[in-house]
Symmetry: C2
Subunit: 430 residues, 2 copies
């Protein structure tokens, strides 16, 4: 189909138009910083809402409803002057025409800021790609919630021990924050909820495995945090397998690098991500991990008016020779930096390159159990857990969402019960 | 496939086994009343949760999250002695074998109580069946939420007025409580939310039609209530078309009985229900509206051990010569009656036939606007609205759900804003 047939998504603007591709943490911050500035701002995203990804695992484990970690863009940016949102899928960047081709039309830009984030990296393992559950979007988290519950419902008539193992075991791959938090939440379901919901099933037949390729969990955090996370998970009864990786998966059996196998129909893939790069950009600007090379001012090399921030952007800083970690604070800081940088350029002020300020890292394992590394001090346990909760609650978008999440957490805490065990849309296994 | 190949869903029981088919209002009440009695109780349902149907329309219009009007059966009935739940689809009743054939196996019963409720009645209009949106389940309500929002997102590039009408108009068929409440909620979205979310669209191009075959809305209520509901809806700008019915629909144009047409891609069908009768029962016991004939003791004629309650059951009482209205209170009262009846039979006490006690009816149209008919007095307006909210809040299952719904309502009330405008799973039009 020729581009000429596609409609323009917006008429020409008198103001300089900044198009922001992607409404994750970085894209959202860009929109906020650009409020009231002398630009036309267009946000384009394939969802009509922002997803608070750090809590996806709680949706997948029936602790939170999806609607509380999502926030509609149009509600967020209502009354913003010269702001437009377009729900569309990017098909390619046509940098020669300064335009984006989407599934619903063409969008022209003066400045393009790519904040399309990252997508699951299956490292080319076909069986994993076909059968594993990723957890990067709300529909994926809901599929996981459904399948974890369906596994148990369908396990009831199974009398063969091996088949029962296969049916209710869960293997989580990747010992970063997502894998560790998901393992902890599954451990709580296994210990506190499933024995009451399914008294007919012997819960000792369910094994939860956490497979991590490296020597320690939470490799981005301190050794102290890693050791404590390992202890917490083992106390929960999680089988943590370090220095081990997945070679293949056929939907029933997981083949590990050392030749051992694990029986499980449910494999949760939290082992890695790669940059979510739109088509149409020169290949020489893409790294091996699918990130887009940018200079210290978030500018994509070769272009004058295309920028990238967040997970997608590969920037080499002295302290981060292999690029920044793919986490929300980098995206948010880059968003703040970039808009400040634009204003400095406009005012002919002195510009300074981006520097990431790491304010700390944290992960939670379960009730009263979290690990926190902050500049200068590291702590674990109940206080860390309260800090984790407070930080996540405050980072959530919208007052209503904060209140409902707080109620859910309070309820879960006093009742030892993840209440939202609903199979709203049953998942059909491939 | 021969039945012999199918597994038994439960081993033989020493206790007398009561199987309850369907966990709606009636089925739920049966389970509660049977708690601790000398039976084995098995609940079978195709969802793993109870749906609070009266609030489905608020899920469809972004006012409530689905998780707050659903409640997992296993959570509800945990710690109930001799209680079992099976997530299964009923394929047929094999009354000669005293068993139910389901998609996952055979379930034998001593006593069978059918509480499978009702399903949407399209009255054989193929176009409506193919293209209209029913609203009897949570996934259906979520599909509606998605399509109403998708309609607007996709309307943005449309410049032709007729095509724009077709894209954003909504036709609701059926002037009972569901149709009236849905119309009111859509009116609020149109008046308060969409003008702010979509400043690019001229909202005067959106028409909401409510089509009712009879002379008045809410025909089950008083004339006073009907008149007030009509006035409220017309104040909202809803086009109420009485004495009019739908003859056909091709996905774009609604053909009415008088030959007129309405342009709309979105048709919500709340025009009628019919009994949801499992296969395998003798045809002579089924009425023209697909309800199952029962005697005054909820017993299905011809059988000694099959009973039916609620929407499914057709019982002729002096005051209700055409059967009871298909509403929750009938189902709940029949559940209470039936278990009491069983106990009377066991104790050789005197049994009396079922009599429905109508405690009143109500419907809401929007903020501060509701109509209530109660024995002796009828009222409308803000007090009726508070009564409506209180009754629905108290009828919801679960403390957490009540708290979250209350917060949502409070938030909606102060902000004039239905907050959950999320297209989680986009709906693909046929």
């Amino acid at each position: 189909m020729s581009n000429i047939e596609l409609p323009l998504l917006l008429p020409e603007s008198k103001l300089k138009r900044i198009v922001i591709a992607g409404g994750g943490f970085g894209g959202l911050q860009l929109c906020k910083e650009l409020r009231g500035q002398n630009y036309e701002v267009v946000l384009i995203d394939r969802h009509n809402y922002h997803t608070f990804q750090p809590l996806l695992y709680q949706v997948a484990t029936a602790g939170l409803e999806p609607d509380s970690i999502a926030y509609p863009f149009r509600k967020l940016f209502k009354h913003y002057p010269n702001f437009y949102f377009r729900l569309a899928e990017i098909e390619k960047i046509d940098h020669q025409q300064n335009s984006i081709v989407t599934d619903i039309g063409i969008l022209e830009y003066d400045i393009l800021i790519l904040a399309t984030g990252s997508t699951t990296n299956f490292y080319g393992i076909e069986g994993v790609k076909k059968y594993a559950f990723p957890m990067k979007t709300i529909p994926q988290a809901l599929d996981l919630r459904s399948i974890i519950l369906q596994n148990f419902e369908q396990a009831l008539p199974i009398t063969n021990e091996l088949l029962l193992n296969e049916q209710i075991n869960v293997v989580i791959v990747g010992g970063g924050p997502t894998g560790v938090e998901m393992s902890g939440a599954l451990g709580e379901l296994k210990n506190n909820v499933f024995p009451i919901d399914y008294p007919e099933i012997d819960l000792s037949m369910m094994q939860v495995y956490l497979v991590e390729a490296g020597e320690r969990l939470l490799s981005g955090m301190s050794k102290q945090a890693s050791a404590k996370a390992l202890k917490y998970l083992e106390d929960f009864g999680i089988n943590v397998m370090r220095s081990s990786s997945v070679k293949d998966f056929d939907g029933k059996t997981v083949l590990l690098s050392d030749g051992k196998t694990l029986s499980a129909k449910t494999l949760i893939w939290a082992a890695g991500v790669k940059g979510n790069i739109p088509e149409g950009l020169p290949e020489q600007q893409v790294t091996k991990t699918s990130r887009l090379k940018v200079d210290r001012y978030c500018k994509v090399q070769e272009f004058e008016n295309i920028f990238a921030i967040g997970d997608l952007a590969y920037m080499e800083e002295e302290k981060y020779p292999g690029g920044h970690p793919m986490v929300a604070p980098v995206a948010i800081q880059q968003a703040n930096f970039l808009i400040k940088h634009f204003n400095r350029l406009k005012n002919n002020s002195k510009t300074t390159p981006f520097c990431y300020k790491d304010k700390g890292k944290m992960a939670t394992i379960g009730r009263n159990k979290a690990v926190v590394d902050m500049k200068g001090f590291k702590f674990q346990g109940i206080f860390a857990w309260f800090v984790w909760m407070f930080v996540h609650l405050m980072s959530l978008v919208g007052f209503r969402n904060r209140v409902v999440v707080l109620i859910d957490w309070f309820y879960n805490y006093i009742s030892y019960d993840q209440a939202l065990r609903l199979i709203i849309r049953p998942f059909k296994r491939r």
